[in-house]
Symmetry: C2
Subunit: 263 residues, 2 copies
């Protein structure tokens, strides 16, 4: 399971302040903690800075990678910001992401095609994601085929089924998971990814919902997740689920994590 740490996002006021002040110590500290907790990639998102986004994203990439060897997931809809950040990035980057919205696709597909980066393919063609299983599969298929036509190999694609809050429509989570499974079977080799926090938005006991959702999504074939790796309940759920799903020979990683106090 590929873990993308979500904590470096300027939607969080403390991160906005740190980026605004170019506070290198604060940013590298959050980065280090997430990597120590088990993140394989770190999401970096400076989209609230609007016109300054390219400069902020570039600074984040340089600042984090000057201290810590970790690849980054560039979360941005701004092709200039993504393009400039990609030029500074060391290792294999991930870009989150590209959707089937014509303007969005036209702006970002050329950028992600230029470097051998991993690409999050957002299963959406406009402002709101599709609602039915058939629509999701149709849009996901079309997007995957357009990306591969641009030379992006299937194993660089991370399909995001774009799960909307269950509080808005209680059937949305399972519809999205079923579409994700169908697309994984149809396009062998693609990865799948989703953010966790959205699914429980507006409901009580969100941590219970998020960890239960994570286990179920993994059973449906989810291979990567954007989450807070400092949430020990979530990370312990990942370890337990990988063991239950038969991906932890002799339960060694689970037991080792327990011995280190991580479960």
């Amino acid at each position: 399971m590929l873990i993308v740490g979500e904590e470096i996002n300027t939607s969080r006021p403390a991160v906005t302040e740190a980026v605004g002040k170019r506070d290198k110590g604060f940013i590298t500290e959050i980065a280090r903690k997430q990597v120590e907790a088990g993140a394989h990639y770190l999401d970096v998102n400076a989209s609230t800075f609007l016109h300054e986004e390219p400069e902020c994203l570039r600074w984040l990439v340089e600042t984090i990678q000057s201290e810590i060897r970790v690849p980054l997931c560039l979360a941005s809809n701004n092709p200039k910001a993504v393009s400039e950040a990609l030029m500074r990035h060391e290792g294999q980057p991930m870009v989150n992401g590209v959707s089937l919205d014509p303007d969005h696709f036209a702006a970002l597909a050329p950028v992600v095609g230029t470097k051998s980066c991993r690409v999050v393919a957002q299963c959406s063609s406009g402002k709101t994601p599709p609602e039915t299983f058939e629509q999701k599969v149709q849009i996901g298929s079309e997007l995957i085929e357009k990306l591969t036509a641009k030379g992006i190999a299937l194993d660089r694609i991370y399909l995001d089924p774009c799960i909307q809050p269950m509080g808005v429509n209680s059937g949305m989570a399972i519809t999205a998971l079923e579409a994700m499974r169908e697309l994984s079977n149809r396009y062998l080799g693609i990865h799948t990814i989703c953010g966790l926090s959205g699914v429980s938005f507006g409901l009580p006991k969100r941590r219970l919902i998020n960890s239960t959702f994570l286990a179920i999504a993994m059973a449906y074939g989810l291979t990567a997740a954007v989450l807070n790796p400092l949430d020990q309940q979530l990370m312990a759920t990942v370890l337990a689920a990988e063991m239950i799903l038969g991906r932890d020979d002799g339960c060694e990683r689970y037991i080792s994590a327990y011995q280190k106090g991580k479960v």
Copy 2:
């Protein structure tokens, strides 16, 4: 999700003592608590009493049902004990269970065929359950066909994939779940059931494993579980998982349980 409360089992010393003394108050209190916590059936197991098992099981059935309207799951390998308990039982009983072991099948199949009870079909043909997917599917299929040949309709059958501890073989849980899903697809209408506590035996943080396993098993199609309904983490996981799996319109049951302090 059908919940079978597991607490009335003479493998627990307090229950053995209560059954030995015919302590009606103690037994009905555990029964009442489990039903209040959401159990639909109560497992009753007096197998440690050996030769006195028939008398003890009969007493348990009469004692519980004289106070509480709840159907029982008779957990016994003793055909005399099952047969006598069935005669006293009101409502639709469940019997746990029948395996493909020739002696076991010959002794119990006639007993469970006589009354319209629900039958747990244990996916096993001897002392240790089969290990591979193919063996499990083969044994499960043969057992289901033998039960239906005895006039037991598919919707009375609860297939138990007999999950062995992951600490013994880390691949056993997923193999059993995959076999369970295959058999559910092959014999439309059957139910599936499993006990939870065995899967985590010998591993640390068993409650984490049990609740994660429960969510994953439900994603694989599990429709009933033998568990401790007084474990609020497990019961909250059932509610969250049913909501995520699209079986809770408008999230109403989840929110209602939260308002009652059950999540």
